[in-house]
Symmetry: C2
DNA sequence: CGGCAACTTGATCAGGGTCAACAATAGTGG
DNA sequence: CCACTATTGTTGACCCTGATCAAGTTGCCG
């Protein structure tokens, strides 16, 4: 499935209305996303570097591993997965990304994307051309710093996943996953206890280093223990504290 | 074991000789380390931001998780491990770091180190105070860009580890580990086929998500298969190609 | 030389992978 | 709107990889 054809930039230049131009300043995500901590003027400048909001249909790829790197993308609405694959077809989901989170940071180093980014539902992203972002950051120290922070946070997040993959048992992994999701949804004003999973059991399994059957069994176990109710993709956490207790004290499940 | 007392800066100010000041420009690692791609003048400026070379004794910690973040460190000589720990004591080695590699990038976001850095042999590091580095980078675009690259590369490296931990079997993991080590040593002018491991079986196991017995068994198996010769910490790769073939084509073992 | 940490190897066990059958759901086209 | 099909999810039975437990060896450092 090819990625959605992108509205060419000229269209924006011609038809752009004032309220369309001021992307970040009006965005409900500005406290979570890149603009965090910028002044009004700085945010205006950032707005001008944003090409356009791009719709990405469910199942479409925003970019693929190997694509040459031009832009970072901020998720505005919807839900993405990123995954790396080995030559033999083995696939590893490296992250799930929701609104306000940036995708593509791993590509800066080699100027080529190292993973695929796939929309798990109909999405909208803000494209941030890296060259412009870089020159803008030269004038706005706060932006550079925030950018450092976001990259650094990604590293911390990955370390948490490594701890999970290296040390935890199946049920612990799923508990961490659910609690993390819950927390991120809460930060966006959604319910932290009832939510729809956008990904399949197989994708959860890939992310957690488990097979889909194991994920399914762990869900059933949690349900039998009264920790949650699961019906299909809808999950209701009945006892978040009980879930946390499963971990015997692993608070390193922050990050995005 | 507390980290080595650090020579206070005044000592440098008073006794610094010209050849001690020009740290990076004379450093054999400048093609691997932070200065890569800088002009002579830019490198001079970078030299001035470097506090001092700090010796770290074997077993000492350079920093601990929770320490407030001041500096990034470049390994000049020696070998470090970084590890995160959960509250219940579970420890995960997140990386091994050799000369020319930077440690501490994960701390930028939260201004607090997220892992311990422990010297596995007597080491020397260059301390790069982040505040100075940041203001210097404002004047040297190439430095900023290179800094982005290094952070981004760290993210890519972590993704590779996630693939390893999520998908690979014990022997594959050890093969990836050995080939990666071999490659990094080669990049530094050391033999790519014969080398001393600086870490214990347990540390290798922690990094690879395996128990030390499993690591030991995998070594024995490789030796029985004629892939390598191992005596204690000394390893000689007899058949690197054979090792690679074990992987059925996972080239994603780059990174540091 | 003694004491301790690190390593090796064997025996046993269990967590989770694999294979398989089936059920439920969502997406498709008439 | 409904029927049909493909995808996704659930559950069971069995097996294998790697964990665990244990004993003994080697090498290192004081």
């Amino acid at each position: 499935m090819p990625s959605q054809p992108r509205p060419v930039q000229e269209i924006k230049e011609v038809f752009a209305l004032p309220q369309l131009k001021a992307v970040c300043s009006n965005c409900s995500l500005r406290e979570l996303c890149l603009p965090l901590g910028l002044t009004a003027e700085e945010m205006d400048a950032l707005d001008r570097t944003i090409h356009q909001r791009i719709p990405v249909k469910r199942g479409a790829t925003l970019f693929r591993a190997g694509d040459s790197f031009r832009s970072i993308y901020a998720v505005r609405t919807g839900f993405f997965k990123t995954c790396v694959s080995a030559e033999d077809g083995r696939e590893q989901v490296t992250g799930f990304h929701m609104s306000g989170e940036l995708i593509g940071l791993d590509a800066i180093g080699v100027e080529r994307h190292g993973c695929d980014a796939v929309a798990l539902e109909d999405c909208e992203v803000c494209e941030l051309p890296f060259a412009r972002l870089e020159s803008l950051a030269r004038d706005i120290p706060a932006l550079t710093r925030h950018f450092y922070k976001l990259m650094s946070r990604e590293i911390v997040r990955d370390q948490g996943v490594m701890l999970l993959l290296g040390n935890m048992r199946a049920e612990e992994r799923l508990a961490v996953f659910l609690l993390n999701l819950s927390q991120r949804l809460a930060a966006r004003g959604f319910s932290s206890t009832g939510f729809h999973l956008r990904m399949t059991r197989e994708e959860i399994g890939s992310y957690l280093g488990l097979k889909l059957e194991t994920v399914s069994r762990a869900f059933s176990k949690f349900q039998a223990d009264g920790l949650l109710k699961v019906q299909n993709k809808y999950v209701e956490l009945l006892d978040p504290v009980g879930l946390k207790n499963l971990l015997g004290g692993c608070a390193s499940l922050q990050g995005q």
